[in-house]
């Protein structure tokens, strides 16, 4: 690591690193939205006729899946931006988004089988959507392992960008490709459901409202967590910088 430091304030300046006001506001707002979304999922929305109470899982299951996919798309954009500009801040956006996305997809993967056990009678099938979700989880877990195994920060960033792009392509190909060919039994919550789908359900207005609200909530959850994670990464960088500076003074 380079010990020569030119930029930044002198190490002697005591700076507090409180989160910016906007972030605090956003965090509180997101927490309130989560509460409201829980209310809508559990109390506001009526119990679905064919599936019963277990259908309420959908509000979080689908919302988290959407936000997870969005997170990995953000990683692709950040990856391309990094490869073009070579800026560390883009790399930070990239891996922060992967970490948040992985947590969100974990919610989806954990909640899905609970519902499927009731609706399909078995927790897992190799359905296109499920396959794509599993591939997604595995690829991005591998992404984090790849980064962890590489010492050099710039190489880490380059490989992260490349792997993030390829992994997203793989998820899209698995999902879109397989979906077009085999009929999915996974209900399409948004958009037309396949005619062979078992769980096709017309949405009652209250169910639809709760669903839309959960999409919105999880978008906010993603944005909030991403911002926090990015901020944490910048602070970590700053600590490393100060540490290096201190060591160079001592040595």
């Amino acid at each position: 690591m380079s010990a020569t430091v030119v930029e930044g304030s002198p190490a002697t300046t005591v700076t507090t690193h409180r989160p910016p006001l906007a972030l605090t506001v956003l965090t509180v707002f997101t927490a309130l939205m989560l509460l409201a979304a829980s209310y809508m999922a559990f109390l506001y929305a009526p119990t679905e006729l064919t599936m019963g109470a277990v259908q309420r899982i959908f509000y979080f299951h689908v919302g988290a899946a959407w936000a997870g996919a969005l997170a990995f798309l953000v990683t692709v954009v950040a990856g391309v931006a990094y490869l073009i500009t070579g800026k560390r801040s883009w790399d930070i956006v990239g891996f922060s988004s992967v970490e948040v996305g992985l947590a969100l997809v974990t919610i989806t993967l954990a909640s899905g089988p609970v519902w499927a056990q009731f609706a399909w009678g078995k927790p897992w099938t190799w359905d296109p959507k499920l396959t794509a979700a599993a591939v997604m989880w595995l690829s991005y877990a591998a992404y984090l392992m790849l980064r962890q195994g590489i010492e050099d920060q710039r190489r880490q960033a380059r490989f992260g960008a490349v792997y993030g792009i390829v992994a997203f392509a793989s998820v899209m190909v698995t999902y879109v490709g397989v979906r077009f060919i085999t009929a999915t039994i996974h209900p399409a919550v948004v958009g037309p459901s396949a005619s062979t789908g078992q769980g096709d359900f017309g949405m009652a207005p209250r169910i639809r409202n709760a669903m839309i609200f959960s999409f919105l909530t999880f978008t906010f959850v993603f944005a909030t967590l991403l911002w926090h994670r990015i901020r944490l990464a910048h602070l970590t960088d700053r600590v490393a910088l100060l540490k290096a500076r201190l060591l160079s003074r001592l040595g």
Partner: protein
């Protein structure tokens, strides 16, 4: 270590060797090295044979079971054997610092990618050529059907295509040999699914019209991955 060497990028005019010729030269180099030592291909072959034996013993399938799973077993074996070859192919360049030399050569970076891809696909093809007759005997399911070689070839090229890119990253990671399958297999699943489905369909004598979508998907995935790897490979080996 040889940062200074990498830093001197070759001027554009010096990159005189045409892409195809340069790629062929790199593939030929890999082939010649392999013909002398035979260490990669023999490891791949022995691994593939052991894997087939294990599948054959472990599954103890009846007639219909064998027909249904032979395609899957073929691809799983090919893919794992292939990951051995991919790891060696790029690991060797890095261990001996040959990669530095290759990067200094007055050729386009993509020539290095396509050369490596060709070499890796060739090794996998050799394994497949040995594997198909043996599996035909062991599983009593004939792989000698029209279009089976085409599916096998397409699957191999796609797998080697994305595998070459991933392996060129995994060699830099701590515990690179362990990392390669972890990084590669989730990505390669999108090639494996159509390859297995198409092979299985062919073995079960399903008419081609019903399988053409799998062929298209396999072809499409190959194109996407190879174009993507072609564009990204330069960033991986840069520095």
């Amino acid at each position: 270590m040889t940062l200074e060497l990498h830093a001197q990028r070759q001027p554009e005019a010096a990159r005189a060797t045409p892409l195809f010729k340069a790629a062929a030269a790199i593939a030929w180099k890999d082939l010649r090295t392999e013909l002398r030592s035979k260490e990669t291909i023999s490891a791949m072959l022995v691994f593939a044979l052991v894997a087939i034996m294990i599948f054959s013993f472990a599954l103890e399938l009846d007639r219909t079971g064998r027909e249904a799973s032979a395609a899957g077993i073929l691809w799983v074996t090919l893919v794992f054997a292939g990951s051995l070859g991919l790891g060696r192919s790029l690991g060797r360049e890095k261990d001996q610092h040959c990669l530095d030399g290759l990067l200094l050569a007055p050729i386009d970076r993509s020539a290095l990618y396509f050369g490596k891809l060709a070499g890796n696909a060739l090794f996998m093809a050799v394994v497949a050529v040995v594997l198909l007759p043996i599996m035909t005997i062991l599983f009593d399911v004939s792989f000698f059907r029209p279009l089976v070689p085409l599916v096998v070839l397409m699957g191999i090229v796609g797998y080697a295509g994305v595998g070459t890119l991933i392996a060129s990253m995994s060699i830099y990671a701590r515990g690179g040999e362990v990392m390669l399958p972890i990084l590669l297999l989730p990505i390669a699943l999108s090639i494996l699914i159509p390859a297995v489905r198409a092979t299985r369909g062919l073995l079960e004598m399903v008419p081609f019209a019903e399988l053409s979508t799998w062929f298209n998907l396999l072809l499409g995935t190959n194109v996407i991955y190879i174009v993507l790897a072609y564009m990204l490979f330069g960033f991986v080996v840069e520095e």
